[in-house]
């Protein structure tokens, strides 16, 4: 490295060490002593991480202009050595998107930690909660800064495990336990594809590494995204079913990403994951972990772009998920579930933004990261606001709220800002990023996807306004809502901070440094035509919602539901995807695959083990019967044995 690194980048290991040590300290030492201290120490540690991440970002930004935003690994050590050129390092990789994610993750995580001090106050398992939250933060930072596929995979599983622990935080509630299992199993299923993809990439990467020479490691991102290496990988040709090896491997890798980012058809776990405490939903299931899939595709974007076909898969699945989830969100009554479907929809947005990008039109890459950046803030804000409301009303049902506008002014104002932001209204953050995504789709000639994007923008504005009007306008519909009052200050501070970020994040010139390819993707100004169309869709959605729900009554909504009849029910039941999965797993897999295997296991495997055990016991009893206790018998055996021994020795000579 010919450039002088600053303190933060020279000591980049601290970004992982701080939350990890805090996790150990809090989990093992502090928690048994004082639950309260555990929460405070965990929160301070994450704030320290955030400060460190900002320092890294500042140094990188000053350095970046000089180096042309080069990717480099300021710190790493060898962890596993399989072969020469196939060693795995633990390290910290620094490039624009990892820095971007570092800032987002630490910011949201520290605010959620702070918020949780108020939200979780008095809950049993307060210390456990913060321990897992710290573990999650560490794992997520490890994922973001992974310099190779294997570290990413390990941290990928770690975030999955901490997500599992936090969804099932209320482990005495069967629904929470079921949701945590569902999330874990679905994402693990997806990770199987990821692992296969890693193995294929590693296998061929190792061969290419041998051809190319040098000391670079097959799993490293810097190696895999090297143009020479990518060319060789792309030239390998057909794998299975005529699909090129590279495309196959990337589709498998994408399967992992789709599981984590809850893309259709692996989206079923995310709405259920709302069983976890609301701040967890804000952090893990809205702002950070679920964008890991997007980040994975972005991290390997040069490879995806080389393959082309894999990127199309990403794009179309993303667009479909965006529309599919947005439609479902219109019919849900649980405020957190609406937000969950909205997250699905926005993740679809980020995915198709990546999908429409290419080497010639790389704007989607920037747009996707931009949307990830802004979405993290306003979606976390929406969840924390919803948490604040739930905290006050003690219900998730939007029809059990109403009229909270006056009773919870700060929550109301910040929620309104977030709603406008996600609806894409100027000057809030969502406007800029959504505009850029749509511009990318149009600019690269994907008109269908552009159309879907525009439609989704309108639907998004509609269902977000729907819950906003239902919860905050009109009169209180229940006892709980009429006695609601504003949350404590410690919960309001994060709301205000996030609200400010939701306003200003859009002005952040992210295109200056997050871009793909030299020269291209220069800072993109606002395209008036697209901006007008997007804004029109947003305003239309809000207006429609106001017309139906603005009164605070439910009469018009019910009439509308009746009018749509069967279609409404299908959407409300989420297109019966869950039912379909249950049918496939219970009726088909369990009966025709699992049951015979279970029988084989019980009858043949266990039977064999039991048979050998029984045989052993019988043999033991037979030997025991030699022990008659009579000295004559023992003596006879002795003499007989000696004679036999002599004969054997004689015979063997």
């Amino acid at each position: 490295m010919e450039y002088e690194l600053g303190f933060a980048l020279r000591n980049a290991w601290l970004i992982l060490a701080i939350p990890f040590l805090s996790f150990l300290l809090v989990g093992l030492l502090v928690r048994p002593l004082s639950e309260k201290a555990a929460g405070i120490i965990a929160t301070l540690a994450v704030f320290a991480s955030a400060a460190f991440a900002y320092a890294m970002a500042a140094e990188f930004l000053t350095l970046g202009a000089a180096t042309g935003w080069k990717t480099f690994v300021p710190w790493s050590f060898e962890w596993l050595r399989f072969q020469e050129r196939m060693a795995v390092h633990i390290g910290v990789l620094v490039d624009p998107i990892s820095i971007l994610l570092l800032v987002v993750v630490t910011t949201v995580s520290s605010l959620v930690h702070l918020y949780s001090l108020g939200y979780m106050h008095g809950e049993a398992g307060f210390g456990r909660y913060f321990t897992f939250l710290n573990l999650f933060t560490f794992s997520m930072l490890g994922l973001v800064t992974a310099p190779n596929l294997l570290q990413m995979f390990v941290c990928w599983e770690l975030v999955g495990a901490s997500s599992f622990c936090l969804i099932g935080f209320y482990f005495d509630r069967p629904s929470a336990v079921a949701a945590s299992k569902k999330a874990f199993i679905v994402t693990r299923f997806a990770d199987l594809g990821f692992l296969l993809g890693i193995l294929i990439l590693g296998y061929f990467g190792y061969q290419v590494a041998g051809e190319v020479g040098g000391t670079r490691q097959a799993f490293d991102f810097l190696f895999l995204t090297d143009p020479v290496v990518m060319g060789k990988l792309n030239a390998i040709g057909a794998g299975i079913l005529g699909i090129p090896v590279l495309t196959l491997a990337l589709c498998l890798v994408y399967m992992g990403g789709a599981g984590k980012s809850a893309m259709f058809p692996l989206h079923v776990w995310l709405p259920d994951a709302m069983e976890g405490p609301t701040p967890v939903s804000a952090l893990i299931h809205a702002a950070t972990m679920v964008v890991a899939g997007v980040y994975l595709v972005a991290r390997l974007f040069p490879l995806f772009a080389t393959s082309g076909d894999a990127l199309l898969v990403v794009g179309y699945i993303g667009a479909f998920t965006a529309l599919f989830a947005a439609v479902i969100a219109c019919t849900q009554d649980d405020i957190k579930r609406v937000l969950a479907y909205s997250t699905l929809s926005q993740l679809g947005y980020m995915m198709f933004a990546l999908g429409v990008a290419s080497v010639e039109h790389p704007l989607g890459y920037t747009a996707s990261m931009f949307h990830l950046f802004t979405h993290a803030f306003f979606k976390a804000l929406l969840f924390l606001g919803a948490g604040s409301v739930i905290h006050a009303v003690h219900s998730n049902e939007i029809w059990r709220m109403g009229g909270l506008r006056r009773k919870m002014p700060v929550t109301h104002l910040t929620f309104a800002i977030a709603t406008l932001a996600i609806a894409g209204i100027w000057p809030f953050a969502g406007f800029f990023s959504k505009d850029e995504v749509l511009a990318a789709a149009l600019g690269s000639g994907h008109y269908g996807i552009f159309g879907i994007g525009l439609l989704v923008a309108g639907i998004t504005a509609f269902y977000m306004s729907r819950i906003y009007f239902a919860a905050f306008w009109g009169g209180a519909r229940t006892e709980g809502a009429s006695h609601a009052h504003e949350s404590p200050v410690i919960m309001l501070i994060p709301l205000v901070v996030l609200a400010v970020l939701s306003v200003v994040a859009g002005f952040f010139p992210i295109g200056e440094f997050v871009r793909f390819g030299a020269g291209h993707g220069a800072p993109h100004g606002i395209n008036p035509a697209i901006a007008a169309a997007g804004t029109f869709a947003g305003v239309l959605g809000i207006g429609l919602a106001w017309a139906i729900y603005g009164s605070g009554g439910t009469a018009r909504a019910e009439a509308l539901a009746r009018a749509f009849g069967g279609a409404y029910t299908v959407v409300r039941r989420k297109f019966y995807v869950d039912e379909l999965y249950l049918f496939v797993t219970h009726k088909i897999i369990v009966r025709f695959v699992a049951a015979p295997i279970a029988w084989f296991d019980r009858a043949i495997v266990d039977g064999g083990v039991n048979l050998s055990a029984k045989g052993g016991r019988l043999f033991g009893f037979a030997l025991g019967s030699l022990q008659t206790g009579q000295v004559q018998a023992y003596g006879s055996w002795f003499a007989g044995g000696a004679v036999l021994l002599v004969l054997v020795l004689w015979g063997l000579q």
Partner: protein, 480 residues
């Protein structure tokens, strides 16, 4: 000078007799302490003395192998006295488990120990046989020490079958002497000529050794004697007597029969296979913990026998592995026996099911027992695992892969009954009447030492390396 450890032990034994007459009854708990001090002094002497040399015209000699045998015997003897001290002093809560006549008990045990030490150094037939008898006959007395029905029966059975074993051994040695006309072991090896009479002699000698080492089918006495004898004596039998058997077998195979080395692999392998298999499978169905430990000890003898294999590939490795495992086995088995002695001495109960819930009433004792049992089963990282690993690798290098497989299966089988005890201690609840009983400082010390040793020997490689290095030295000098 070379005989210093033996002399110290014998002098201590006689000193005990005199002191016993002089001190008052109240002061007599000092007697086991004197015995311990004597053994400790002998241990220091054995450690400090030069590693080679001979006396009495070559009839008695020291080399690195016999030095390690002596060290192990002294450790075993010392630990046995230490775990017996409470019963000898009548401290146990369960009166019938107490041992009478402490001076005589220690005296006889020390004589026996001296016999084993002489055995390690013996280099001619007469010395060998006399020291072997000294290492055997006192055990008959010890087995019958309590004079109740079981103990007497054990003693009597032991005497009769022991005499049979001695007779075979003596007759075999006589035949070998007749064939060679030599008394010195190394000289005999030079004069041997194979023939029917020779094989008769060898067969009988091996049968006699088999008695001592509880090799199948010469093992049948072990279960009855181990169960009936006082537990302290059982502990001693299972480690020291077995060690003496190994020393004897070492003399026979590596000195008298040295030129025939390539021939004995098959026989040893079959004996080892039989011994470990029969011992382990018979142990599965036992209900009495002492009887279980008897069969466990038989199977361990089978493992130890593996050390005599593989003479042509890497000479000496087998000896080192055998000595190391013997050392590990001594400390690990005595740790388990210390718990058994304590429990039966305080409660009089020695069924396996009586150990249920021990982890609730005595967490530390249960922990020590568990570590010891895991060590015997050979679970990493305990010394038992490392020791077995070296022994198995000896068999593997000798090309006997079937035997390694069988030994591995046997280790798994042994896990069943060792874990059975652990399960009772840790998973089953304590009985309503089970309550904490006293643990004496002496016992706690012994347990702490043996448990730590059974871990450290496995984790710190220097012990095996030292034994390996020194015995390799011996082999270079003498045999090959």
């Amino acid at each position: 000078m070379l005989m210093l450890p033996e002399l110290i032990v014998v002098v201590t034994a006689f000193a005990l007799l005199v002191v016993d007459l002089l001190v008052s009854e109240r002061r007599k708990p000092i007697l086991p302490m004197i015995a311990l001090a004597g053994i400790a002094a002998a241990l220091v002497a054995a450690w400090m003395l030069p590693q080679s040399g001979q006396l009495l015209g070559g009839r008695f000699a020291v080399d690195s192998v016999s030095r390690w045998f002596r060290i192990i015997f002294l450790i075993a003897g010392g630990l046995t006295i230490a775990v017996s001290a409470d019963s000898l002093n009548g401290r146990g809560a369960f009166r019938p488990a107490a041992l009478s006549s402490r001076a005589e008990f220690c005296l006889i045990l020390l004589f026996n120990l001296a016999g084993m030490l002489f055995l390690a150094g013996a280099r001619d037939l007469v010395t060998l046989y006399v020291s072997l008898e000294l290492a055997t006959i006192p055990l008959f007395l010890l087995a019958a020490w309590r004079r109740d029905v079981e103990s007497s029966e054990a003693g009597l059975k032991y005497v009769i079958l022991g005499a049979l074993g001695s007779a075979f051994l003596l007759y075999g040695l006589g035949v070998l002497y007749g064939l060679t006309g030599e008394m010195r072991l190394e000289a005999m090896s030079g004069a041997l000529r194979a023939g029917p009479a020779f094989w008769l002699g060898v067969g009988m000698v091996v049968a006699g050794v088999g008695f001592k080492l509880t090799l199948v089918p010469f093992h049948l006495w072990a279960a009855d004697v181990y169960q009936g004898a006082p537990t302290q004596v059982t502990a001693y039998l299972s480690v020291a007597s077995k060690g003496a058997g190994l020393a004897l077998l070492f003399h026979v195979l590596y000195r008298i029969l040295a030129p025939l080395a390539p021939h004995w692999d098959g026989v040893i392998a079959v004996l080892a296979a039989l011994t470990m298999t029969v011992g382990n499978f018979a142990a599965i169905v036992q209900k009495n913990i002492k009887r279980l430990m008897a069969f466990s000890a038989i199977s361990q003898a089978g493992y130890l026998l593996l050390g005599f294999l593989g003479h042509d590939g890497a000479p000496g490795r087998g000896v080192a592995a055998m000595l190391f495992y013997l050392l590990v086995y001594v400390v690990t088995n005595l740790a388990a026996f210390a718990v058994i002695i304590w429990y039966s001495g305080e409660t009089g109960r020695e069924k396996i099911e009586d150990y249920r819930g021990l982890s609730k009433t005595h967490p530390l004792m249960a922990l020590a027992m568990m570590v010891a049992l895991f060590g015997l089963a050979g679970i990493p990282p305990l010394a038992g695992f490392v020791g077995k690993f070296f022994l198995f690798s000896v068999a593997s290098k000798a090309g006997l892969h079937w035997l390694v497989g069988l030994a591995a299966i046997n280790s798994t089988v042994s896990l069943y009954y060792y874990l059975g005890i652990v399960r009772r201690m840790y998973i089953e609840p304590a009985g309503a009447e089970d309550r904490a009983v006293r643990v004496s400082p002496m016992l706690a010390t012994v347990l702490a030492i043996t448990t730590l040793a059974s871990v450290i020997l496995g984790v710190v490689p220097v012990f095996f390396e030292t034994i390996s290095f020194q015995t390799a030295d011996w082999l270079k000098g003498t045999l090959w």
